[in-house]
């Protein structure tokens, strides 16, 4: 009995967690009338693949996916490059900034987005960049506190003997960073990529502020505008939500280790 009880509790909680998700998939395959029927049938009467076809026809959902993927790839490149540079500065180089900058960087993690939102918008407005992707790209090339922290924690675990040896041989910091640190950092670079992808893919507020042209919408923004236009067609809305969610789930299954380790190390999601 003592062994079974935990499993029963875990299974019940597990159902609570997974059932809403199955309900999403189930509704996404139902017909319009089946979806709004008063029933708890998880299995649709008939599998309607047409729902998925319809959302791609009715709204440029494919376009939204490509837009978001484009932003995510640029964001990943930006973060891998700049956050790792700053992390190296805080771990591999002996200078006064190491001690001064690190606490400031950590404290910015707790700064609410809304505190800086308006002046940042006004800066981009002055530069005539509102309505372009630049405000969604530039921040990713200015390093992010959480990724700096994640990478710094990884860098300080690397064997210092390698770097010391290179340094004695007269290697510059640039050489040590590109030839020694980065090649050893694949696990943490993978974690940063995964979190950056998740961030860009899920971001709503950023695109809401800066993107007004529908052809430039990201998935989250597209999904929101979709529910505005089709407010009662729950089967279609669920199909669109599934399309938004499934790429994330797939990535999670490929990169589960990076996810868990990254979260554990930083104590925060992305």
């Amino acid at each position: 009995m003592k062994k079974i009880l935990p499993h029963i509790v875990l299974i019940l909680i597990g159902i609570m967690f997974i059932f809403p998700f199955l309900w999403l998939l189930s509704t996404s395959f139902k017909s319009g009338t089946d979806a709004s029927a008063l029933s708890l049938n998880l299995i649709p009467k008939k599998i309607n693949w047409e729902n998925y076809k319809e959302i791609f026809v009715k709204v440029p959902f494919l376009r939204y996916c490509i837009n978001t993927l484009f932003l995510a790839i640029i964001g990943i490149v930006g973060q891998m490059l700049t956050s790792s540079m700053v992390a190296y500065s805080l771990s591999g180089i002996n200078w006064w900034g190491k001690k001064v900058l690190f606490p400031i960087i950590l404290s910015t993690i707790l700064l609410p987005y809304q505190v800086t939102m308006i002046p940042v918008y006004l800066i981009y407005n002055k530069l005539h960049l509102v309505g372009t992707y630049w405000p969604l790209i530039i921040p990713y090339f200015l390093a992010s506190a959480i990724n700096i922290f994640l990478m710094r924690q990884f860098f300080i675990t690397l064997p210092t003997s390698l770097m010391e040896a290179a340094s004695i041989d007269g290697a510059s910091h640039f050489t040590i960073y590109t030839k020694i640190i980065l090649p050893l950092s694949k696990p943490v670079l993978a974690a940063v990529s995964v979190f950056t992808f998740l961030n860009v893919w899920s971001d709503f507020l950023g695109p809401l502020i800066y993107i007004n042209n529908q052809s430039m919408f990201t998935v989250s923004l597209g999904l929101k505008s979709f529910i505005g236009e089709h407010s009662v067609e729950w089967n279609l809305i669920m199909a669109a939500s599934a399309v938004t969610t499934i790429p994330i789930i797939i990535i999670f299954f490929f990169a589960q280790k990076q996810f868990i380790e990254g979260i554990t190390l930083t104590g925060i999601k992305g």
């Binding site: 309900w23 180089i93 200015l142 910091h173």
Partner: protein
């Protein structure tokens, strides 16, 4: 050139992406928005200094007070509920049982569902008539709330939605639990301690630094609730729900109201004043939590 100078230059160069970003997109905005808060300012006309007018107007503005109250409600209820739920599930997963990684995956997955999609899903599940939850409640003969039309139930609905996505907190607690040396418990066993005593005397104190950090992150996170409320305004309420604040503005949150003032009404001065109040509130709460933490957080070595 001396090595020390060389290192300083290299350090600065390598740190420059963050330094530039910090100066332009963090420090400057914080300072300039203090000034904007004292001005009458829209993007169409330059700022005019008006002293404390924005602040005075805000504290007479019913919607501002409402948004602040709603936000404090979520902070006060969602934060402890999420932390307790996260800790509870983590402790369940920390038992030596088969299939732990499977359960962990199941519990965690909802946390990575994009917020817009998760919100839409829950608006559907909590649909008063066709929704999954009310249909289940009906079977058991329990009262079925009109979740997104009844102002008494909108915030509890958001709390339920939030509990679904506590996987991140769970993972962090789970890792911390696994770090507690087994010898701690073994010596307690020798002393004949029961499970509750072990939890109070060993688990909680050892976890306290993690709880502290999660508490602060959660509070600040709850102060920024935006997406859920914004999407519900569109998907849940329909036409009778008022604008984006839900029925009777019961889910008008601080972040939503800033957004409104800034980008719908272009009242940049008022919105900046709100941003500064948010800055002060969150800084104060963080300070307060840290301050009280020396009473309950123990940083033990081994």
């Amino acid at each position: 050139m001396k090595k020390k100078h060389k290192d300083t230059i290299a350090g600065l160069l390598f740190a420059s992406p963050w330094i530039i970003g910090f100066l332009i997109f963090t420090l400057y905005p914080i300072i300039i928005s203090l000034y904007y808060g004292f001005t009458d300012f829209s993007i169409f006309k330059p700022p005019i200094f008006v002293g404390l007018d924005n602040y005075k107007a805000l504290f007479k503005d019913e919607l501002f007070i409402k948004s602040l109250n709603n936000t404090l409600y979520m902070t006060a209820f969602a934060t402890p509920i999420n932390l307790l739920f996260g800790l509870g599930t983590a402790m369940l997963l920390n038992m030596k049982i088969k299939g732990m990684s499977f359960y962990r995956t199941i519990f965690y997955i909802p946390s990575i569902v994009p917020q817009v999609a998760a919100t839409i899903l829950w608006v559907w599940i909590l649909n008063a008539r066709y929704g999954l939850l009310n249909n289940i409640l009906k079977i058991f003969g329990i009262y079925q709330p009109n979740w997104f039309q009844d102002p008494n139930y909108t915030k509890p609905a958001l709390i339920i939605m939030g509990m679904w996505a506590t996987g991140t907190i769970m993972i962090i607690f789970l890792a911390a639990l696994q770090d507690i040396p087994r010898s701690f418990y073994e010596s307690a066993d020798i002393d004949g301690a029961n499970n509750w005593n072990k939890f109070i005397k060993i688990t909680l104190p050892t976890l306290s630094p993690v709880i502290l950090y999660q508490l602060i992150v959660s509070i600040i996170f709850n102060f920024q609730i935006f997406t859920q409320a914004w999407v519900i305004g569109e998907a849940g309420g329909g036409g009778n729900a008022g604008l984006f604040g839900g029925p009777e503005n019961s889910i008008l949150f601080y972040a939503t109201y800033i957004f409104y003032n800034a980008f719908s009404y272009f009242k940049m001065g008022k919105a900046s004043a709100m941003a500064w109040i948010l800055f002060i509130i969150t800084a104060f709460i963080t300070w307060l939590v840290f301050k009280t933490s020396n009473k309950w957080v123990t940083y033990g070595g081994e």
